[in-house]
Symmetry: D2
Subunit: 237 residues, 4 copies
């Protein structure tokens, strides 16, 4: 059983009727609901909880953290981000969704600006699999069709991903590296571009499958954390 | 002409007679001296100068910044680091030497702890070229021999490098990814492991050649910086 | 001066009036004409010449080989391919254009099937730069617009490229890793997707710029070729 | 249950008493014996069997093929190699051990010469983990100690690996990229350097663990193979 914590800013759903219609219990609960299978134990956490719901204890019990945020990245405390960052380096998996590209934790892990082009225009997106044997693409076939998604376009200001799994095509003429993996310390990270709050993306079965696959892929392993610092020679000098 | 600024913490040379014997004018001036050829215009900057010598004006006139620091990383102001970081993302090259692995700027660009194993034991290092056609390895042959170097050993807590150019062998039994490239934004970064303050590493001609090659490799180009933000469709929707 | 040999199958231009209208002297001569600047010495070679124009002497005098082929890949002799392969491993650059993805030399260097989706439908392509500081993208800006190009779509059956520089967007709904670099031995390889014989792609100034940039990028360097085989220890055993 | 076929040239064991003492039933049977657990169904195949034991039927029933060869690479028929190659591209995993670096199948998949430096001198090797969260390194700790192993030294003439997991240190002064992954088509490949026929490497528990891990990592998945060829537009043109 992989222990997953789904973190959501949970603001749009409170303030916008349009978003609430799609995600009446919040994006986090929709994600939790489809993860709630025999493979995962799922909790949620949100911005307005104490410590944003991400106490040391919660993180200690988290193998994979899923992150959705958008309009309130700056309200996330640096102390909590430092805690999450350390935990990722020690091996906790991290799945960053959509507008989480601008979250403090993603930017801290990437070391870049993480900026991009964007447009809300009800256009369709098609996510092409370019790494067909990757476990995150398992069961997806050749592409995912989304009737409506926010356009995110290149240049996406990230380091070169360790692995590129999906490339997004947008009707308006742009492309995007929509599914990317990174390693930082002992932690595995997956960035996945779809998931705008006003579209029903997290009800799409293939999107759900990708998120499930990615949680399994980046789950904390039993690998030991390396030792650092002064080191005696292993051979005669 | 590539405009290079060599930044040095410049503390060991002031406080240690042993180091001063090797680098009487400071490590920065030794590096500047061998870079001072027709290909480069070289300036230096040090920690104890105003703004650590890295004002907006200086950075504006810098194509490549070389960084050597060790015992005073924490004294470098966050404001200057933010400035250097932004400048790297906009295209300034960065060459990080030896103990600069723990500098604020390198850690900020990497997003990881950047820790490693180390030992000062007067042992020899041999740096093997594993990417023989890379411009940074040009003129080096198969390996570089250093009679004495500080051991830096794996695991080195960095993201997977974009390119691995040198692997270091140490007599005491360790290996190290001793020459690595990274891209962040429009900026190119080269990390190079040798250069302990109490050994004459920067007098070694092959080491000098690698540093010259790397400055050329990561020099700011005329490439334009991408645009970000809201973007009109390029096709009819 | 970089010594370039432009190799072309040169069949479409002989058999099709439509193609001949666009490339009356053959695709090779059009490519040679825009390369013919102070930076390059350019020769051409074609399939129907003796040894396909690629004798040992010609290859010995070639720093970068450009390859365009389409309907007659199978007519290229294995002996010549072996010769070109060895020469790439020893450091000759190789630029493979468009339908060259199915050439014997590209398949031999990749080790994969190199297959893809395709369509000739007079649709437009937009090539987005995803690696903005790469020398091959210098001077290109954010993207290249082609009014008409043959669609090549993912999955493209190549090894993971060392560097991904362009992603192609096609109006019909596909994407493609349209500009990729690879290293094999001491040789650098650039694959570039545009260049269908019935469209005037090689008259486009940005396409010309990419090809010029790529020739410079993959030109043979002075790096020595490694030694292999039995090796005496460098340390006491 | 992952279906594994262990392929061995099986010549040294027949002709050399020294080797036979270590591997009385052949290297293949020693590898099969430690894989023979609840996770795997194991068969063996050897050079001198009909079709080298690698008929279409056998390959059809193989999720992962392990390859050990050394003195008789040239005796492996091109027809069988073509069959294995196609099967790898369609998703069969391949684990290439030690001197298999020079096998026809590995060279065909790499597209390079696959040469290296070597020495038989009874020296020790230490394999350092440089990718600590990789599933192939699970349970290994920081390094593997081998009292005796054949030295394989850089430059190793392979394409840049997709992932570098182990770097080997040799007492005589060399390093080697000793554990590397590659993808070709839908197939995953792991190259692992240890395993000289006259040393008891395959009795080492950590070596066994790496091989088990790698078989799991590269096992054929349920991912569908992409479609290629002419493709109708998915959007209106």
């Amino acid at each position: 059983m992989i222990k997953v914590t789904v973190w959501n800013e949970y603001r749009h759903e409170k303030h916008s009727e349009e978003v609430r219609k799609i995600y009446p219990d919040g994006i986090h609960n929709q994600i939790a609901s489809f993860l709630n299978t025999e493979d995962f134990t799922v909790k949620t956490a949100t911005l307005d909880e104490k410590d944003h719901g991400l106490t040391e204890d919660v993180l200690e019990e988290t193998d994979v953290l899923i992150w959705w945020g958008h309009i309130a990245h700056h309200e996330v405390s640096d102390e909590v981000i430092e805690r999450v960052h350390q935990r990722v380096l020690k091996g906790m998996g991290l799945v960053v969704l959509h507008s989480g590209h601008f979250s403090k934790i993603f930017k801290k892990l990437m070391g870049t600006g993480c900026d991009l082009k964007w447009r809300e225009a009800e256009e369709n997106e098609r996510l092409w699999v370019v790494n067909p044997s990757h476990p995150i693409a398992e069961g997806i076939g050749e592409y995912i069709e989304l009737e409506k998604e926010e356009m995110y376009g290149e240049h996406f200001d990230i380091p070169v991903p360790d692995e590129l799994i999906f490339i997004g095509w947008f009707k308006g003429g742009e492309v995007f590296r929509s599914g990317c993996t990174f390693k930082r310390g002992n932690g595995k990270i997956f960035y996945f571009q779809p998931g705008h709050e006003s579209y029903p993306t997290f009800y799409n079965e293939k999107i759900q499958r990708v998120i499930k696959n990615s949680v399994k892929w980046c789950a904390k392993t039993s690998n030991t954390y390396p030792t650092y610092g002064n080191h005696k020679p292993l051979e005669n000098l």
